[in-house]
Structures are given as C-alpha cells and as structure tokens.
C-alpha cells in the first residue's frame, strides 16, 4: 500500500476529491514529522506512539574493512504499537 491508496480510501470515506484526499494525507504526515522533529512524541490512540530517542556516541566498525569508526550521537525514531493494533494484526 502507498500514500495514494490511503488517499483513495479517504476519498471514499469522507467524500472528498482525490486531490483533497492526498492533501489531507500529506498534511497529517507533515504535522507528525514537525512534531517529532521538535522531539515531541506523537500518540495515536488505538494505533501507537511515535517517539524520538537520543542515542549517545559509540564506536562502530565498518563490517567490510574492520576499520573502527566513531558513531556520533544521534536521534532515532521509535514506534510502539498500541495493544489494540497488536491484537488487530493477529486477528
């Protein structure tokens, strides 16, 4: 499934044009992105929580050359599915 499929589904559910559906999907995704970029979590009831975690620097190794390199501190995104979503995909 792709973004366009979500937009199409949206057109059918709320009766908007394809372009509006696509706009809505884009808007929702970019709002989520902006919030997460600020470091704030996004909590979607019945779906799951998206949050940003900070990782400290550590030493890594280039698996091909065995060369040791420093991995700088960085921020990663984690998604924790809600209990409901977990049950849904197993039903």
């Amino acid at each position: 499934m792709r973004k366009a499929d979500i937009a199409n589904h949206l057109c059918e559910t709320i009766g908007v044009s394809k372009a509006e559906g696509m706009d809505l999907v884009e808007f929702v995704l970019s709002s989520m992105k902006l919030t997460l970029q600020k470091g704030e979590p996004v909590k979607i009831a019945g779906f799951g929580n998206f949050m940003v975690r900070s990782k400290g620097s550590r030493k890594g190794r280039n698996p091909r050359t065995g060369e040791e390199i420093a991995i700088p501190p960085r921020r990663v995104l984690t998604f924790r599915p809600s209990q409901l979503l977990k049950e849904h995909v197993n039903s």
Binding site: L29, L36, F47, K86
Partner: protein
C-alpha cells in the same frame, strides 16, 4: 501531540471539513494502515517510513506469580521503520552549527 491535536489541526486548516469529518479523516488514515497490516500487507510512505509485520517466534513464557511455564504462541508484530529522509530530518544540526558528515554505518 495526540490524535485529538492532530484532528484539531486538520479541522483548523480546512475550510470545508467539520471537526467531525476531520476526525473521520484522521481515523481513516490510520485505519487503512492498520487494515493493510491485518491483510499482511506492507505500507510504504515516501519521506516518512514503512509499516510492516515481523514475526515473533513461539516461546515458553512464565507466569510471574506462580512460576508456572506457559506456552506463548507465534504471533505477528506491527513494525515501523523511519524513512531515510525522515531520519535525516531528525538529525539536522541547528543552523548555527556546521553540518557533520553523515557517514554512519547502517544499523
């Protein structure tokens, strides 16, 4: 940000949608991803990330109260992987700092 905030923003932005419709719209977006996962289908969203399923093997669990061994069956777990662009967005340096090289090893 919660789903309610997200719905408020959608309703504020749109001149044609009522709050009720905005709510339906936001629920429909996450609902279609959820239903795709239920069908075992992956959802890929450019610039955001992808949702897919991972299998959890069956294992023996334990009732923490009684210590009794109970079998835990194999199950499917929803999994999200952030897209490359999104990952980079999270690690953009503030404007006054110089950008660091982004040659990290893939994890």
């Amino acid at each position: 940000m919660t789903k309610a905030h997200l719905i408020d923003r959608v309703a504020e932005r749109s001149s044609t949608l009522t709050r009720r419709q905005a709510e339906t719209a936001v629920n429909a977006i996450f609902g279609s991803i959820r239903d795709a996962l239920q069908r075992g289908e992956k959802t890929e969203i450019r610039g955001f990330g992808s949702f897919c399923l991972r299998m959890r093997r069956n294992k023996d669990g334990r009732n923490p109260k009684t210590g009794e061994t109970v079998p835990v069956p194999e199950k499917r777990m929803p999994f999200f992987k952030a897209g490359k662009e999104f990952k980079e967005l999270l690690n953009q340096e503030p404007l006054h700092k110089k950008e660091e090289p982004s040659e990290y090893t893939a994890t």
